[in-house]
């Protein structure tokens, strides 16, 4: 039974387009593609559509290279490639809110090459320390709601409130499973990533039901955490590290006790306030997300990713940090020196792995990971 649920979630996570197409056929409702990182998917759900957070495809990028530069992050290039290859045909619209220059560039290229797909942008103020960032977010979300009404159907406050409750419950279950997994190792990192990814692409009510069943099974099956070098995985702000890489880290002798990955804690750490005006609550959630797990794509934040990382390592007793940095990810590159300095100050060893969409030298990385873990083990 447990295997059945995980398999079902893995199938959706592994092929979101097929899942969405089946969902669309089954329900007759719209599928709205959304892009990371701060999109309020609750609004799309409240409109009666499936919010599908477009994932990086594992296919090598080919057609996309002819229309988008190769020195952009793998995620943005994969977005363009998927659109160029017609993989996004199931989408009724593509919406986004974040001002990552690479995501904007990708969406703009998609818009021109797929003019039949309504592609809309409602920019958030990335300067989260400004007093204006919550009102600006609320204005953006109100415009977004009006757009959804045109594209899909009306979005009532009641429907948004209901969606908020559902999504909060989904996040809560994921956090609980994650906490169980961090303490017992009942799931691998790959499997944990599957749970998060499937949440991003599946009907949230369906996913929440499956998580409820899965949690019960996992709780019953939980055992002691396997021994191993305790590591914190850090980085990858908007798309997942390759699951093969996660497998390799664990196979090399690491036990992942914590993370701040987008397809990890970042996605589920922050709930939306369940009372009051729902759009105001979503706007506040946007700012709260950065307060909970600092995001390097935001500016003038009152929080610090470096301080957060050092504190988390101390709190969880991690022996070391594996920094997973997507090649060409500028926000992570900007923060990298200070992350290292914060960890050096605490004498926490760290290893930087620059990840790529394709062609990662896995065996060379295995050697580096194994050496890193051996060094930690030798330190005792």
């Amino acid at each position: 039974m447990r295997t059945g649920i995980l398999e079902r979630l893995a199938e959706a996570a592994g092929d979101p387009w097929s899942y969405a197409a089946q969902w669309k056929r089954r329900t007759g409702r719209a599928v709205v593609g959304i892009l990371p990182m701060n999109f309020p998917a609750e609004l799309v759900h409240a409109a009666g559509a499936l919010p599908l957070l477009v994932q990086q495809s594992r296919e090598p990028i080919t057609v996309g290279n002819a229309i988008f530069p190769t020195f952009y992050c793998g995620y943005s290039r994969s977005l363009v490639d998927q659109a160029a290859r017609g993989r996004c045909e199931v989408l009724d619209a593509l919406l986004f809110v974040d001002n990552c220059v690479q995501i904007i560039g990708a969406a703009d290229v998609i818009r021109l090459t797929r003019p039949e797909l309504p592609t809309r942008y409602f920019q958030l103020n990335s300067s989260v320390g400004d007093g204006d960032s919550v009102p600006t977010a609320e204005r953006a979300f109100r415009s977004l709601r009006m757009e959804l009404a045109d594209l899909v159907g009306p979005v009532t406050d009641a429907a948004v409130t209901e969606a908020i409750a559902l999504f909060n419950e989904n996040r809560r279950l994921l956090r609980e499973i994650r906490a169980l997994r961090n303490h017992t190792g009942v799931l691998s990192s790959r499997q944990m990533q599957t749970l998060i990814t499937s949440s991003m692409v599946m009907d949230r009510a369906e996913h929440t039901q499956l998580l409820t069943e899965l949690l019960a099974e996992l709780t019953a099956a939980a055992a002691a955490r396997p021994a191993g070098v305790r590591v914190h995985l850090s980085g990858h702000m908007c798309h997942p590290p390759h699951p093969d890489l996660l497998d390799m880290i664990e196979e090399s002798g690491a036990t992942v006790v914590n993370d701040d990955l987008y397809h990890g804690l970042r996605y589920i750490a922050t709930d939306v306030r369940a009372d009051g005006d729902p759009l105001a609550a979503l706007a506040q959630w946007y700012v709260d997300r950065d307060a909970t797990v600092p995001c390097p794509t935001r500016v003038l934040s009152r929080t610090s990713w470096a301080t957060y990382l050092a504190d988390q390592v101390r709190a969880t007793g991690a022996d070391g940090v594996v920094m997973l940095m997507p090649k060409f990810c500028e926000p992570q590159m900007y923060h990298h020196p200070q992350l290292c300095e914060a960890l050096d100050k605490q004498q926490v060893p760290y290893l930087l792995i620059e990840t790529e969409h394709e062609g990662m030298p896995m065996e060379a990385l295995r050697t580096r990971i194994e050496s890193f873990l051996e060094l930690i083990a030798l330190r005792g």
Partner: protein, 441 residues
């Protein structure tokens, strides 16, 4: 029959009036380097033209990109880039950012250095004073905002920073440059200007001089009007001034103090262009090809590229960076009510447009200046200018039948440039233009 491209023996015939720009720029930097001696506060800013506010407030100002560009143009960028590398900033980061951050790491003022733990020591070029406060006003490019945020953190969050968030001109329902989306964006930026001015007043502890801002914008309007009129004249054949001349004039229009000398400068540039048109004197001797340059300038190879293109008789006449940035709509500036006009120009930054609008602008310029080809500088560490370049190239070929070429380089990191490759691609494009001409003939 295809015609072999041979070096036409052309040479660049640079405007003489732009030599004044060099003197003005040197004077400006020297004033900045000695600001502390005069007891002036120093503002660092990146992105759009915050200098007009700084000048009105009586500040000394440093535009980070301009400083990085200046170092690269003088081949003095390496020590700053090495300082950034040594601190852990990777080579794939925007090289403007990496160079400027390196300068911050190398600057030598006691308090900030000690508290923030920066590396003390002599800077490469003069003594760039660290800022008393910073302003970020970066349209379109999240990396620019993050660069300023990085400086803010490197300064231990002790140097106050203000961020002006500039909406991207996406155009959810068609025209992003008119209608409700534009109106809302403009109002939002103007609102932030007022907050920014309050921030400046808090930092300077004196009221903002609105009269001075009006005066500054009066001169900016005059100078920019002369500049755009002069640029329009370059549709003449042969073109009297080249893209490289406009590059030499970037500093005056971008960040030099506004005043009568700025107006005089662009008046002299326009006058010289008019004289050249009358004398049928071109910016390139033996003009054979007319080209557009898309992308930010490759500052490390400014002279090399100017000579290279000229040697083929290729006149590079206009570009996105020189013709679509820097006060391009001076008629929209009202010196008596300057904020909307300033906000308009912040929004119209070429980094802030959709690919569809950029295609439209490029095709307009190609038609206006009777161009044969488009050269794309694919700046390796700039993920703002480069995203639409493939689509612009395809549109130019499809709609106008012009030839295109692309070469990788960078704004301030010389390691990304390969001269042999550029030469090969340029020759290939010029050959294609020749073949095209023979077919038309």
């Amino acid at each position: 029959m295809p015609v072999d491209v041979e070096r036409a023996g052309g040479r660049a015939n640079r405007l003489r009036s732009t030599a004044t720009s060099g003197r003005m720029v040197t004077e400006y930097w020297n004033n900045l380097f000695t600001a502390r001696e005069r007891g002036q506060q120093v503002l660092w800013y990146n992105g759009q033209k915050v200098n007009v506010f700084a000048q009105a407030a009586g500040l000394a100002w440093c535009h980070g990109e301009a400083y990085s560009a200046m170092l690269a143009a003088r081949h003095q960028e390496e020590p700053a880039q090495r300082a950034a590398d040594a601190r852990g900033f990777m080579g794939e980061l925007c090289s403007y950012a990496r160079t400027h951050i390196g300068c911050a790491l190398m600057s030598d003022t006691a308090d900030h250095v000690a508290e923030a733990g920066l590396v003390g020591g002599p800077v490469v070029h003069g003594d760039l004073p660290l800022p008393d406060f910073t302003i970020s006003a970066y349209p379109g490019c999240s990396s620019g905002q993050q660069w300023d945020e990085t400086l803010y953190r490197l300064f231990g969050r002790k140097v106050p920073m203000f961020n002006v968030s500039i909406p991207f001109l996406w155009g959810n329902h068609g025209d992003a440059l008119a209608g409700p989306e534009w109106d809302e964006a403009l109002a939002y930026v103007v609102r932030q200007f007022r907050e920014m001015i309050r921030f400046i007043e808090e930092q300077t502890r004196r009221p903002f001089d609105w009269d001075k801002l009006s005066e500054i914008m009066y001169y900016i309007k005059q100078a920019a009007t002369l500049r755009t009129e002069a640029q329009e004249l370059c549709a003449a054949v042969p073109t009297p001034a080249s893209y490289w001349d406009w590059i030499a004039s970037i500093a005056p229009v971008n960040f030099l103090p506004a005043g009568p000398q700025l107006v005089e400068y662009f008046a002299s540039v326009k006058a010289e262009i008019e004289q050249r048109i009358a004398a049928v004197e071109g910016a390139v001797t033996g003009e054979r090809y007319r080209l557009y340059f898309d992308g930010i300038m490759n500052w490390n190879n400014l002279g090399l590229l100017a000579k290279k293109f000229a040697s083929y008789g290729a006149a590079v006449i206009a570009g996105r960076y020189t013709h679509r940035a820097f006060w391009t709509k001076p008629h929209l500036i009202d010196p008596e009510d300057p904020l909307p006009g300033i906000a308009t120009h912040f929004l119209l930054c070429p980094l802030n447009h959709s690919a569809a609008d950029l295609i439209r602008f490029t095709l307009e310029d190609c038609r206006k200046y009777h161009l044969d080809g488009v050269v794309f500088h694919v700046s390796r560490t700039c993920r703002s200018m480069t995203s639409p370049q493939f689509l612009i190239a395809q549109a130019a070929q499809r709609e106008l039948g012009v030839q295109t070429m692309m070469f990788e380089g960078d704004v301030a990191d010389a390691s990304f440039y390969d001269d042999a490759l550029v030469t090969m691609r340029l020759e290939a494009m010029l050959e294609a233009i020749d073949v095209q001409r023979t077919r038309v003939a």
